[in-house]
């Protein structure tokens, strides 16, 4: 999916000993959105925007170590060893040894002579890397100005982490004119460095620069045009996480030091094998407990009781993403955690006074098929007709943000219909649910509407699986604990045929192995991902569990 932006100049932060001016450059192709104000809570803002930066650059996907140099060295070494063997055997050992010595000397000379060149070359490579650093970011953050708050949103490169920083107008003073709306802002690595210079004793001007909409007269390249080709999976991930926010959650508050302790355990210990989950144990009236696997280390949060009325045990993965919250611990009054369920997205909202930071985590760090099947998140929650949908959205647009109940009252539409309509717009990236204030907000993720038909399912097999599960033709026949995890066996009736998929889910809820009797599996095994029958069996099992 290709996104195009056109920025008027670059975002600039100009900091001097006495003041800091932040001027964000918005996308000029979108409808004008601007804001200007002076920051009052500058330190909180600094830390929060740094956390947001951590989301933007976060990439925790597994990257295999590059061992080519070592392998080459090893091969060379082995040859040398064989030479040694040969030398010992041969009568010319002494001569060879001399020659070897000479060769080593020559190599050393060569290395010392070339050293300058190598160093300079490496410096040049470093320079190039730095020069093009901005190319490493995927999508520039989105900024939205609403009548009550300004918020930034971003999604990580590894398609798994969502960050939202909301700043209500109490954070600012001397607020100038503003126009509500959503726009993308130009963002670069240097910007992060400049943010670090924000201080309380400096005045900090914050503006989304409206001058970008004025016509430029000089002939310089005033506009920076960007074309970003985003993978569909990235957009899908973003929408899945934001649409998960609208679902009912299990929520509780954590003391800042509880998050400190979470990070502490993870900083101190590094697991070498799975399962790598956090297991939240929630008992009504009891302190929240977290179990760190694989050590089964239990951490109790004595000052954070769970106030819900039902007992839960929820596992979440991708826990190292929580380090993003580290910088917020010192400033946060509390963290509110929203959990959807095991293997489903989770949300951590830091209360920073007049600011709030929402960290949304998808079920797993890796967004691949081994944990796939999250398309339920994008499923329509209820039927609602086109007219009602439009009315609800227009009503929301008029107010920019509204609680569903209030919207239902003012439009005189049933609350469930309003919720359904808003859910659909959230899935389409045109609205979001603000977990902090429990309201829906208008936020158009992109200038043009996203192709929803393409986005819900990663492939046609997911679609087929959805159809199979919906048609109630999937039967789970057995779920046995085995050495590696859980083995599911079942029967899927697809058309006139019966298939018998079998799969093993490991303790990290990954699809460790699977078989099926269908043609797709016979031809491709798992090289192209699981077939629809395997997926359907897995979803059916999950639904029966829930």
């Amino acid at each position: 999916m290709e996104f195009e932006y056109k920025y008027h100049g670059s975002t600039a932060v100009d900091s001097s000993a006495r003041s800091t001016n932040m001027s964000f450059s918005p996308d000029t192709r979108r409808e004008p959105t601007y804001f200007r104000g002076e920051l009052q809570q500058s330190l909180e803002f600094r830390e929060a925007i740094s956390a947001l930066n951590a989301v933007v650059v976060s990439d925790l996907r597994y990257k295999p170590k590059d061992k080519t140099a070592y392998k080459a060295w090893l091969a060379q070494q082995e040859q040398l060893n064989w030479q040694q063997v040969a030398i010992q055997r041969s009568r010319n050992a002494a001569q060879v040894k001399d020659l070897q010595g000479e060769l080593d000397r020559l190599k050393a000379t060569s290395n010392s002579r070339m050293a300058g060149f190598y160093a300079a070359r490496q410096k040049y490579f470093n320079y190039l890397y730095k020069k093009d650093l901005d190319a490493w970011f995927v999508l520039d953050p989105v900024i939205t100005v609403h009548p009550d708050e300004v918020f930034f949103e971003c999604f990580s490169q590894d398609e798994s982490t969502y960050g939202r920083l909301g700043a209500s107008y109490e954070v600012f003073k001397n607020i100038g004119e503003f126009a509500c709306g959503t726009t993308n802002i130009d963002y670069s690595a240097d910007l992060y460095n400049e943010f670090q210079k924000i201080r309380r004793y400096k005045t900090t001007m914050f503006q989304v620069d409206p001058s970008g909409f004025e016509v430029q007269t000089t002939a310089e390249d005033a506009f920076k045009e960007l074309k970003i080709d985003l993978p569909d999976s990235w957009v899908r991930g973003f929408l899945q996480v934001s649409s998960a926010m609208t679902l009912p959650t299990v929520s509780f508050d954590l003391h800042p030091m509880d998050v400190h302790n979470l990070c502490f355990v993870l900083r101190r210990y590094k697991e070498k094998s799975g399962p790598r989950s956090l297991r939240y144990i929630l008992k009504p009236g009891q302190p929240v407990q977290v179990v760190f696997e694989p050590w089964n280390r239990v951490v109790t949060f004595p000052r954070s009781p769970y106030l819900g009325d039902k007992e839960h045990e929820i596992r979440v993965w991708g826990r190292r993403r929580l380090f993003i919250l580290e910088r917020l611990i010192q400033l946060a009054r509390k963290f509110t955690v929203h959990l959807l369920g095991s293997g489903l997205p989770s949300f951590y909202i830091a209360d920073l006074g007049h600011m709030n930071f929402t960290l949304g985590l998808s079920g797993w760090t890796a967004n691949d098929w081994s944990q796939a099947g999250n398309f339920d998140l994008m499923a329509p929650r209820a039927e609602v007709d086109e007219f009602t949908k439009r009315r609800v959205f227009d009503g929301l647009k008029k107010q920019w943000f509204a609680a569903p109940e209030a919207l239902a009252r003012s439009l005189d539409i049933d609350r469930s219909a309003v919720l359904a309509a808003l859910g659909i717009y959230t899935q389409a990236g045109r609205a979001i649910y603000d977990l902090n204030k429990q309201v829906y907000r208008v936020r158009e993720l992109s200038r043009d509407p996203l192709p929803m038909g393409k986005l819900r399912f990663a492939n046609e097999r997911e679609q087929a699986a959805e159809r199979l599960v919906g048609g109630k033709t999937v039967q789970v026949r057995g779920a046995d604990e085995v050495a590696g995890g859980l083995r599911l066996r079942g029967k899927v009736k697809d058309g006139s045929r019966n298939y018998e998929p079998e799969l093993v889910i490991d303790r990290d809820q990954r699809l460790a192995s699977a078989t099926c009797t269908c043609n797709f599996y016979t031809q491709n095994k798992l090289y192209k991902g699981p077939c629809e029958h395997i997926l359907a069996l897995r979803i059916q099992h999950r639904r029966t569990q829930a």
Partner: protein
């Protein structure tokens, strides 16, 4: 010996068909013999005699009668067929009966058509009818007309086909009469067609052939058929077909076929076949896909062409069948159509069949091409054979040659590897039949349907001298066909064949006129030109030379011939110099040696007065006519180039007054050399450049697609006087920043010249700077603009203001930066620069710019000190060398140069080394009075190092002040909240807070709040420290709310040793 009497007897019995012929002959001196011949009909007969020695007449007659009677008894009977088999000896005896004579082929056909065959198993009527058609037997018309409606559809088809070939204007009346209709005019024929040919309405096949028949019967009927066909055309096509011209119609047809028009219209068009529609029809037939939907029409047209003897269409389609692979092949009478097994026959019989042009159909159609020719040959129809053969050979060109192929296999019997070769034209069946039927080189063998090389011949070997074609006698009778081939064919084997055949026809060659010889010489094939050369040698008359012949000889592909022509000219140069066309053809010859000779000739002779102008006109006409899109356009390019050079050299003066209209045409010619010629002429033209029409210059300088011509055009533009050019700065700029390197290069000398003018630089430099600042549209523009500015326009750069220089430096384009670097030193007075601007320059990518910034810093210390908070930005420069310079520079500054603000701002940097440098400066220039300020400011730094550094000031500048304690609260939280890091800072903060809590209840309250929060940590050391602090607070101010309960440890004794220091 004289034949007195002959009796021919015949006997047909089962498969046996034999004749017995008895002769009575008189030998000298009234003596007689009785001879007989016998054998199978149609084969050589054996001879015998009943009289070993001559006998008297009476004896001989009795033997004769006895023999005839004996044979008759055995079943023989007298018949004309038997007579036909007998050798052509004319019996002299009056008694020979007429009925016994053998009838001719024509007679036999007519007899069969009339129904008086007589044989026991009669010849098939339809075959006889077909044969009549092939022979175009006029006499067969009447019986054929009588045969209409007499049998099945096939027979009817044959009859109508034969009538189409045999009939003429009079046939129509005969048909009307025979069908017992009242006399009708030809234009009523179509309306009453069903009355004339009753079955035509029921069978489309018969309808087609019936129309074909009527079409062949004279102009009136043809007009009626054409009108009928036109009426059936779609309106658009009908209009175009009626109005013409041919090109417009071809385009309309092509468009409507592309838009999905049915291919059936092609049949209608072929029925019309007027000069307007034919070219378009031929083009459509060349490109029409042979697919279901369109193939059927192609097949019908093929049949119609065969019926009409239309060699052009027939040959064209035959070639398409050779080239187009079949669409499907049938296995076990079925074929897969749209994934379904389908009966091929049933599917093909459907009107909307999804199958067409299968393997069998293609094979049949390919065979048919040669079969038609062979039948014509066996009928001894030289004219028909040659015409069709020429039609089938002409569509082949050298482009249809394929790669020669070789296949080797091991032969176990001979224990040798046997190779089979296929030559370049091996796949074409009829082509090879016509050319190589009697060849010792090629043969058609096996199932491959490819002509392979015979045993010893390999592709590329020399061809034999003997003629190889089929039916050489027919070609000898129609040598015009050979000439036709030579004049039009573009295929080497065809030329080789035709030349060989023509050489064998010496008498015909000797009678060829000079035009034909010139034509032969002009062909691009050496064999043909060689023949022409030999003929020309014989014809040349030195006393009265034919200029056209000499010109053709001088430009023919045979080197020796060209040499000969030059020798002839050298004999009498003056005489040839007057021959304008000859000179032009020499100068613009396709051959370099002739062109060189032409140039030398032209330079050495004195031209008669007035010849020069007409010669130039003629040469330009030839040049304009040179084709550009032909495959050999390099040759044309060379011709035009050298020819133009010669003209420019020899006729420099007359060319200066060449008409502008002609130049305009030359400038728009597709060949580069012709355009270049126009430009060269214009450069020296007597019309002044400013008076030249603008579009002429534009045609060369802007619109031409050849770099060289554009350069010339730009040069021509540059010839304009300076004041005119100054008014056209935009065009100058467009050339200077053009995406085409040649235009940029060509305009440079012009700009160099103009740069000497004052005011020109000011006019051109600002827009060029803009070019450098904007994105490069085409590669190389920036660098060439930079070169232009650096060298040619250097003098005008003095006026570039400071702002523009800085903008150049800020640009992200390297060329702009480079120019900015040069101008920074030249144009910008350091005094006018602001410190902040210089600090930014220190991060510039170009070293010289950074060095300029350093120089400024070194030399302007007072200004730096005055604006220190901006000056220190150099410390954060992106380049390490700038930073190192800055460390050294600021390291040497004095205490009074810095304020705390500045020092903290240095520490604020995100670079660790700059932070360290800042801390060092803070330490060096520390003043007691500013301690708390440093502490407060540094405490807000996010980096752990600086936070640790700030702890140093805690004990001294924060003690005892509740207000500071409150201000520093976020700092304490920040330090203590670090996860698993900052042990020393944490310890110092804990110690400090523990101490502070002692001082006042408010401080204790604050510390208690902090510790309450921190005590939740899992880190044992931190937890312990916070508990210690809280215990201390609890000890001092007991009423402070704390999450701990301090329990007094119970006294312990040796027996009961338990340790409970306190609890949380």
């Amino acid at each position: 010996m004289k034949l007195i009497r002959r009796v021919s007897l015949g006997l047909r019995e089962g498969n046996s068909d034999k004749v017995y012929i008895v002769d009575l002959c008189e030998v000298a001196g009234r003596k007689f013999v009785v001879n007989f011949q016998f054998g199978r009909r149609g084969q050589a007969l054996k001879d015998g005699t009943k009289t070993d020695t001559p006998v008297t007449e009476a004896v001989a007659r009795s033997i004769f009668a006895k023999l005839v009677e004996e044979k008759t008894r055995k079943g023989y009977s007298e018949s004309s067929e038997a007579a036909a088999a007998a050798p052509a000896a004319r019996p002299s005896e009056r008694a020979a009966p007429r009925a016994g004579a053998k009838p001719s082929r024509e007679e036999a056909i007519l007899a069969r058509l009339r129904g008086d065959g007589g044989a026991r198993r009669p010849w098939d009527f339809s075959r006889a009818a077909w044969r009549a058609g092939e022979l175009r037997l006029k006499a067969a018309v009447a019986p054929l007309i009588a045969g209409i409606g007499g049998g099945d559809v096939r027979r009817e088809y044959c009859v109508l086909w034969a009538l189409a070939r045999c009939g003429d204007e009079s046939s129509f009346a005969a048909l009307v009469q025979a069908r017992k209709q009242s006399p009708m005019k030809p234009d009523r024929a179509l309306a009453n067609l069903e009355a004339l040919v009753p079955r035509a309405g029921k069978s489309p096949m018969l309808m087609r052939v019936a129309l074909e028949m009527l079409r062949a019967w004279g102009d009136e009927l043809r007009a009626a058929v054409v009108q009928h066909a036109q009426g059936e055309l779609p309106p658009g096509l009908r209009y175009a077909a009626e109005q013409g011209p041919a090109e417009a119609f071809a385009e309309v047809l092509q468009r409507s076929l592309a838009a999905g028009e049915s291919a059936g219209v092609l049949e209608l068009l072929y029925r019309i076949d007027s000069p307007v529609v034919r070219p378009g029809l031929l083009a459509a037939l060349r490109s029409l896909p042979l697919l279901p939907g369109s193939f059927r029409a192609v097949r019908h047209i093929f049949k119609m062409a065969e019926c009409r003897g239309d060699a052009e269409v027939y040959g064209l389609l035959a070639l398409r069948f050779e080239l187009t692979p079949h669409n499907f092949s049938v296995r076990y009478n079925s074929v897969y159509v749209d994934g379904r097994r389908t009966d091929a026959r049933k599917e093909q019989a459907k009107p909307d069949s999804r199958l067409a042009y299968g393997q069998i159909t293609r094979a049949y159609l390919r065979r048919r091409g040669w079969a038609t020719l062979r039948r014509l040959a066996t009928l001894d129809d030289a004219e028909g054979y040659v015409r069709m053969a020429v039609g089938m050979l002409l569509p082949f060109t050298d482009a249809h040659a394929v790669e020669p192929r070789t296949m080797s296999r091991y032969d176990y019997s001979s224990r040798k590897t046997v190779s089979t070769h296929w030559d370049r034209f091996a796949p074409y069946l009829a082509f090879n039949h016509i050319l190589f039927e009697n060849s010792g080189r090629y043969e058609l063998k096996g199932m491959t349907r490819m002509w392979r090389c015979r045993a010893r011949y390999k592709p590329g070997d020399a061809a034999p001298a003997a003629r190889e074609e089929a039916y050489p006698a027919l070609w000898d009778r129609m040598p015009v066909g050979l000439l036709h081939l030579l004049s039009e064919s573009e295929c080497l084997p065809v030329h080789e064949f035709a030349v060989k055949a023509l050489r064998a026809n010496k008498a015909f060659c000797d009678e060829l006129d000079l035009d034909t010889i010139v034509m032969l010489l002009g062909r691009p094939y050496e064999v043909t030109a060689q023949l022409g050369y030999e003929l020309a040698l014989a014809r040349y008359d030195a006393s009265n030379p034919d200029f056209e012949l000499v010109a053709a000889l001088a430009s023919c592909p045979v080197a020796l011939a060209r040499q000969t022509a030059r020798t002839w000219i050298d004999v009498d140069r003056a005489r040839f110099a007057g021959a304008r066309d000859l000179i032009v053809s020499l100068v613009l010859s396709p051959f370099a040696d002739t062109r060189a000779y032409g140039r030398a000739l032209l330079m050495s002779v004195v031209l008669p007065p007035g010849v020069a102008e007409s010669l130039i006109a003629r040469a330009i006409a030839v040049m304009l006519a040179l084709p550009a899109d032909a495959p050999g356009s390099e040759v044309q390019e060379a011709r035009a180039k050298e020819g133009a050079d010669t003209l420019l050299r020899v006729f420099a003066r007359p060319l200066r007054s060449l008409g502008l209209g002609v130049l305009h045409d030359l400038a728009r010619h597709p060949l580069a050399a012709v355009q270049g010629f126009a430009a060269e002429v214009l450069l020296a033209h007597e019309v002044r450049p400013e008076d030249l029409p603008e579009e002429l210059i534009a045609a060369l300088a802007v619109e031409s697609q050849f770099p060289g011509v554009r350069s010339l055009g730009v040069r021509l533009f540059g010839e304009l006087p300076d004041e005119v050019l100054l008014q056209r700065v935009n065009l100058l700029l467009a050339f200077a920043t053009s995406g085409l390197a040649d235009q940029r290069g060509a305009i440079r000398p012009v700009l160099q010249r103009l740069a000497r003018l004052p005011s020109f630089g000011e006019l051109l430099v600002p827009p060029l700077l803009v070019t450098l600042l904007t994105k490069e549209e085409h590669e190389g523009v920036h660098s060439s603009v930079l070169a232009l500015l650096k060298t040619d326009l250097a003098a005008a750069l003095g006026g570039v203001p400071k702002d523009a220089v800085l903008r150049l430096l800020r640009s992200k384009h390297p060329a702009a930066q480079e120019l900015g670097g040069i101008l920074l030193a030249r144009n910008v007075d350091p005094a006018t620069l602001e410190v902040g601007e210089v600090a930014r320059l220190a991060s510039h990518e170009i070293l010289s710019v950074r060095e300029a910034a350093w120089k400024f810093y070194r030399e302007n210390k007072p200004r730096l000190v005055a604006d220190m908070s901006v000056a220190i930005k150099i410390l954060d420069a992106a380049w390490e060398d700038s930073r190192r310079f800055a460390f050294a520079l600021f390291g040497g500054f004095e205490e009074h140069d810095f304020t705390p603000d500045v020092l903290v701002a240095v520490c604020d940097s995100v670079r660790p080394e700059v932070q360290a440098f800042g801390r060092e400066l803070v330490t060096r220039f520390f003043r007691e009075s500013q301690g708390h300020e440093y502490l407060l400011r540094l405490s807000e730094h996010p980096s752990a190092d600086v936070q640790l550094f700030a702890t140093n000031y805690l004990a001294t500048y924060a003690t005892g002040s509740l207000e500071r304690l409150r201000q520093l609260e976020p700092y304490f939280l920040g330090v203590l909240s670090r996860v698993n890091r900052g042990r020393v800072a944490k310890a110092r903060v804990f110690a400090f807070l523990t101490a502070e809590a002692e001082r006042s209840p408010e401080a204790a309250q604050l510390v208690a709040t902090l510790m309450t929060r921190q005590s939740l940590t899992m880190a044992i050391g931190d937890k312990a420290a916070s508990i210690v602090a809280m215990v201390a607070v609890a000890g001092r101010y007991a009423d402070t709310p704390l999450p701990i309960v301090v329990k007094q440890p119970p006294l312990w004794t040796r027996k009961d040793r338990k340790e409970v220091p306190g609890g949380v």
